[in-house]
Amino acid sequence: MAELVTPAERRRLFTLLSPAYLWLLVAVFLPLSAMLFFSFLTDMPQDAPDWGVTLGNYAEFLTNPTYSTLLAKSLKLAVTVTFFCVLIGYPCALVLAKSIKGRSREALFLMVILPFWSNSLVRIFSWAIVLRGNGVLERAINFVLPFDVRLNLMFTTDAVVIGLVHSYLPYVILTLYLALQAVDDDLIDAARSMGASKLTILRRILLPLSLPGLLAGAVLVFVPVVGSFMEPRILGGRMGTYYGTVIEDQFVAVYNWPLGAALSFILLAVVIVILAAASPVLKRAQT
C-alpha cells in the first residue's frame, strides 16, 4: 500500500473512487441525510407549518422500554445467526477452496448463490411449508422413522434462525472462500512437513489468513439481520416482533417518519459502535 505522494497517484485514486462514491452520494447518502434531518423534527415540514427541531424522537428510544428491549432482542438474533452462519459456512468454504479441484469447483461456487436468485418472500413461504405442523419436514421424518415425530418448529425463534441462516449463509461461504482460496497450499504443506497437526494448521495458518474473509462475511450477515423484519414476522409468529418491525411500523402503520428515522439511525449507530469495538479484538486475534 502506498502513501499518496505524486499528483498522478492522487488523480488515479480520484478516478477509481469517485464514480462509486458519487453514485452512493446521490442515491443513498443525500437521501439518508434528509432522513437524518427529519429525525430531529417534531413534524414533517410539508404537513405542519409549526414544525420544530427536537431531540424528542431520540429521547423516545430511552423512555419507551419497548424499543430497547426489541433492539437487544434483534442484536441477540443477529449474533446467533452470524455465529451459525460462520460455524456452518467455514467447513464448506474450506472444502470448496482446498479439496475440490477443477471445473466442479466453479460449478459449486455458483450453486451456493443460485438459490438467492429467487424472491425472498417466496423462499420464506416455502420455509413455512417445510416447517409447519404436518409440513414437508415432519412428513419426511415420519416417512423415515417408525414412530410419530412432532417438531413444532413453525412460529418459534428457531424457525426465524433457520430462515435467516439460510438467507445469509452464501455471503459467509463465498467471502470465506475468497480468503481461503488465497492461502498458499505450499505454506500448508510446509507446516505439515514440519509436523504441525491439522488443528495447528487451522488455528495458526488458516484462521488468521482467512480472517478478512470471515469479517467481510460476518458483516454482510450481522448488519442486515439486526434490522430484519420479514423473516421474523412470517416464521416467528407471536415471537416474531423485532426492532425492524417497530421501525417499519412508523412508516407503514402510522405516518411518523421522524420517529422511524430516529430509530433507524440509532440502529446504525449501535451497529457501527459494535463493529468498532470488535475490530481491535479481532486484530489481536490475527497476530
Binding site: R233, G237, A253
Partner: protein
Amino acid sequence: MKSAFLLSLSALALSASGALADEIRVLNWQGYGTDLDWSLKAFEEATGHTVVHEYFNSEQEMLTKMRTNPGAYDVVLVNAIYNPQATEEGLLAPIDTSALENYAGIPADFAESDLVTEGGEVYGVPWTWGVTSFAVNTQVFDPVPDTLDVLWDPAHAGRVSIRDDAVEAMQIGALATGQGINDIQDLDAVKAKLEALMPQVRTFWGSENDWNQYMAAGEFDVATYWSGSAARSAAMGLPVEFVVPKEGAIGWLDSLTIPATSEHKEAAAQFIDWMIDPEFYVKWDAEGAPASANADAAAALDETAFNRRVLGDPEVAARVQFQTPVDDDTRQQYLEIWQALKAAQ
C-alpha cells in the same frame, strides 16, 4: 352481452372526450376489483380507455405515493377514514357526480357521509364496504359460534389468529369489552383483554395470503378476518364461515377518488362509474367481493349470496359500527400499546 347502458356510455365517451382514448392510471391494492382482466377488456371496448395499475401495500404508503407523485394517478382507492385527511391536504379533486349514471344507487348514508364529502363537494365515490370480525374453520365448529369470546376460549388456545394491526386489534378489544370502537374510554381494559388474548395466538396474520395458507394448513380454528376476503376464501374452497358476533363488528367503507393532479379526470370518472355499475358488481361478487356500496348492485345479487343474505340483513347491519377517522396521536398511542404487547412475547 353488451347492455344498452354500455352503448350509451360509449356514445357518451365519444362525444364528451372527443373520442380521445386515455390511459387511466389506477392506484389500488392488487387484486381488489379494479384490475380484473375481463372487466378491463370490456371497459376498453366500451370507452376506448386503457387502464394500468400501480399497487400499494399500506394506506400510509398510498398517501405517500399520492403526495410525492403529482399527476401520476387518475383513480385512487382510499379507505373512507383517510378521505378527510387526503381532502384536507388537497390531494383529491371534487367529483362531478352528475356525470356518473350509477351514482344514484348509492344510499345517502354512504353518499352524503362526512367522510367522503366536504363543503358540499363529493371527494370520494363510495364503492365497497365490509365488516372486520372473525371467521371460523367449519370443520372445527358446529354450530358456528355467535360471540367474540370464542377468541379467548381456552379450548382453542394456540389455534387463534389476529391481524398484526394496532388499530384493528384495539378496536376488536373495544368490542370485546363492550366499548365503542371509535371512542375507546377504558384503554386499560382493552389492553388487559388483548394481553389475555396473546397466549391464545398461534401467529399474527398480515395478509389474505397468510390467512388462507395457514387456515388451509389447519393452523387456525378461528381468526379475525374481513368479510369480503372470507367470501373469497370460501369461494376458493376453504371450509370457513364469517361471523358477525353479538358484540358487534367493525365496518369500513372504501371509496374511489380522483387525485387533484389527475390529467384524465373525465376518463377517471367514467372508470369509477364502471366500477359502481351493478352489472360489473354481480360478476365480481361471483369471485368473492366485499359488499357493494351501491344499493342497486346489492339488490341485483342472488338471494343466497353472502353479501345480500348476511350483510343485507338489517338485524346484522345494526350491529356494525362504522369506523371514523383516527387522528395521528391516537394512532401512535394504539401502536405503542400494540408494540408493547407484542414485544412482551
